[in-house]
């Protein structure tokens, strides 16, 4: 039993910013490119510590992305980060051709993603990146669930070769993974065992899924397996297929459009290997709204109650 009141809240972007600093300490080839929001995405920490390895590119996401490629092809390991809406789409052609097709060692941080960026509203609430990024060959796509994991993901991204996109958020979210929890790119973590159904989540819905699973067990004795699918590409087929076989029903939960998102990636694996009923928790084909993160999470049905209800629904279809 997890006691939620003991869990601190820290923004995932802090993990990104700190992770980049750790990398900078370990490797002089780590370079950071700024896109005029270095404070928001916390690469300002790196900038303060390693001013010689920080380059401000201004509001020019296309150029920043492709400059990063030129640096990577010259032996550097550049990180470029902006709001996820602009770090995945304003530069989408550059990501496809110069980053992915070149298989360039470029790392992109997509911050302030999802509806929890809050009052800025729909334009800033990126809910479509996963669909695009997971279709790009050579791309690694990570959506970590809390501060600790984002830090580990960032460090792992900097230490592997090839393009990586890390999607994280703005608001403070429960920091529930431990320092010594294992994090390996491409290997999902099973956070809770169970065979009645599987809940597969990434990003801030992982915590909500854990809470939903706890409610299911406490209220009804239903044992849900909770899987943190932090790496969406390459996807952990093994864990997904096992979940389908063992549990016979899957709920996915993500702060993203349902169409094309993480749940869709899971569905691809499921029907190709072991078809079972699925239910998708996510944004249902609409744009976001201004509001406070918590308000939006519940308005859009990404909270533990929605996941709980989805679990009950899917059990009827088993």
């Amino acid at each position: 039993m997890i006691d939620e009141s003991k869990i601190k809240k820290i923004p995932t972007r802090m993990g990104f910013g700190e992770g980049v600093v750790v990398l900078g300490e370990r490797n002089p080839n780590i370079i950071v490119l700024g896109g005029d929001i270095t404070g928001s995405v916390m690469t300002s920490l790196f900038k303060e510590k390693f001013p010689d390895r920080f380059f401000s590119i201004g509001i020019a996401e296309q150029n920043a992305t492709t400059i990063a490629v030129g640096m990577a092809l010259s032996g550097k390991i550049p990180f470029f980060s902006s709001y996820s809406a602009f770090a995945a789409f304003r530069n989408a052609d550059q990501l496809r051709i110069s980053v992915a097709y070149n298989n360039a060692n470029v790392k992109i941080g997509g911050g302030h993603s999802g509806i929890t960026v809050g009052p800025d509203g729909a334009t800033h609430q990126s809910l479509e990146e996963v669909a695009y990024l997971r279709t790009l060959p050579n791309m690694t796509l990570i959506v970590p669930s809390d501060y600790n994991e984002t830090k580990k993901a960032t460090i792992a991204a900097g230490e592997m070769n090839g393009p990586v996109f890390i999607r994280f958020g703005r608001s403070a979210v429960p920091s529930f993974t431990a320092d010594n929890d294992k994090f390996e790119i491409g290997k999902a973590n099973i956070l809770k065992d169970g065979n009645d159904l599987a809940i597969i989540a990434s990003g801030l819905t992982v915590w909500e899924s854990l809470m939903a699973a706890q409610m299911l067990e406490n209220n009804l004795g239903i044992k849900a397996r909770v899987i943190n699918l932090h790496t969406i590409k390459p996807i952990d087929q093994e864990v997904i297929v096992a979940a389908a076989k063992d549990c016979g029903a899957i709920v996915t939960a993500e702060e993203h459009q349902i169409h094309g998102g993480m749940g869709s990636a899971v569905a691809e694996v499921v029907v190709a290997n072991y078809p079972v009923p699925m239910k998708f928790i996510g944004i249902n084909d609409r744009f976001g709204l201004s509001g406070e993160p918590d308000e939006l999470i519940s308005y859009f049905g990404l909270d533990r109650n929605s996941i709980y209800n989805a679990a009950l629904d899917i059990l009827k279809r088993k």
Binding site: G34, D36, I37, T38, G39, S40, S56, I57, G58, I59, A60, Q62, N63, A85, F86, R90, G118, P119, D120, G121, A122, T123, H124, F287, L289, S290, G291, E292, E295, L296, Y299
Partner: protein, 302 residues
């Protein structure tokens, strides 16, 4: 005592011409900006305040032709806010022009408000011509409108658009500039809010856009550089543009030298106010400063 916020019903007409009138209007707009941002607890104070004088002249000095009672009036001029983050000054201006009730300014950035954090077409707020929020897109939308009016429908409608100075670091903006020159869009007025501030610092340090005037000239624009807080210069620039619209074959760029946070001493020219709202204490101080200024204007009898 808790700070109580209310919005007067006062609206202004599009017929101002004295400095006193403009001063009073822009004071009211600045007050609205502070109020709505204080209530919202997030949002962009600096740029909104910095553009208050230009908005006052554009909307209330007989420049932009619009009709709040029938805002979708087919023959209206268009105003496109490309720098979507300074929505608070646009909302204040539209409310004070009578597009919607001023008390709605209290709903800025709240769930289901028509005053979304960035202008949102799907929120159905009268006066909003397009959604905005991704820098650089609005100016191309303005271009599409200017092309429609001048080259397709052949009406005399004018199109005004405001971009930030950080915003013109975006490459798409130069695609727009190139096409505006190429198509001789003399009905397009592009206002660059040149406060030399963007989120990470001074524009000339984050990524220099200078020399701005030379750039726009080389993209075949008429360029007018003004003090963006001097009503005479603003008026005269807009009038020159209106003249250009008839006689010139070039679009007009008004480079307005402004100060971020203009009007509130502790915000002025400080890029940290790009994206911050005032807290209670700051809001109080701001209201006091604006009140003092109001007295001054009255006593000076401009």
């Amino acid at each position: 005592m808790a700070l109580e916020i209310s919005f007067s019903d006062k609206t202004f007409t599009n017929t101002s011409h004295t400095l006193q009138e403009f001063s009073e209007i822009s004071l009211e707009l600045r007050r609205d900006v502070i109020k709505s941002l204080y209530l919202a607890k997030s949002g962009h104070s600096g740029g909104s305040l910095g553009m208050a004088d230009i908005f006052a002249v554009l909307f209330f000095g007989g420049i932009l032709r619009y009709n709040p009672a029938n805002w979708q009036w087919e023959k209206r001029d268009k105003f496109v806010l490309s720098a979507g983050h300074i929505a608070p000054i646009l909302y204040a201006t539209l409310a004070r022009a009578g597009f919607f009730p001023t008390k709605e300014l209290a709903t800025l950035r709240k769930l289901h408000s028509r005053l979304q954090g960035h202008p949102a077409l799907d929120a159905n707020l009268p006066g909003i011509e397009t959604s905005a929020g991704s820098l650089g897109q609005g100016i191309s939308i303005a271009l599409g409108m200017a092309m429609t009016h001048k080259l397709i429908d052949r009406t005399d409608q004018l199109v005004f658009s405001v971009t930030g100075d950080g915003e013109i670091e975006e490459g798409s903006v130069w695609e727009a500039a190139m096409a505006a020159g190429n198509y001789n869009l003399s009905n397009l007025c592009w206002i660059v809010d040149n406060n030399d501030c963007q989120i990470d610092g001074r524009v000339h340090q984050v990524m220099s856009i200078y020399p701005i005037a030379d750039k726009f000239k080389s993209f075949n624009f008429n360029v007018i550089t003004i003090d963006g807080h001097n009503y005479n210069e603003i008026l005269s620039a807009f009038n020159t543009f209106k003249e250009n619209a008839k006689t010139s074959d070039k679009p007009t760029c008004i480079i307005a030298k402004t100060y971020m946070g203009k009007g509130i001493s502790f915000m002025e020219d400080d890029y940290k106010w790009h994206g911050m709202p005032p807290n209670e204490e700051q809001a109080r101080k701001a209201f006091n400063e604006l009140e003092k200024m109001q007295q001054q204007i009255k006593s000076l009898n401009l």
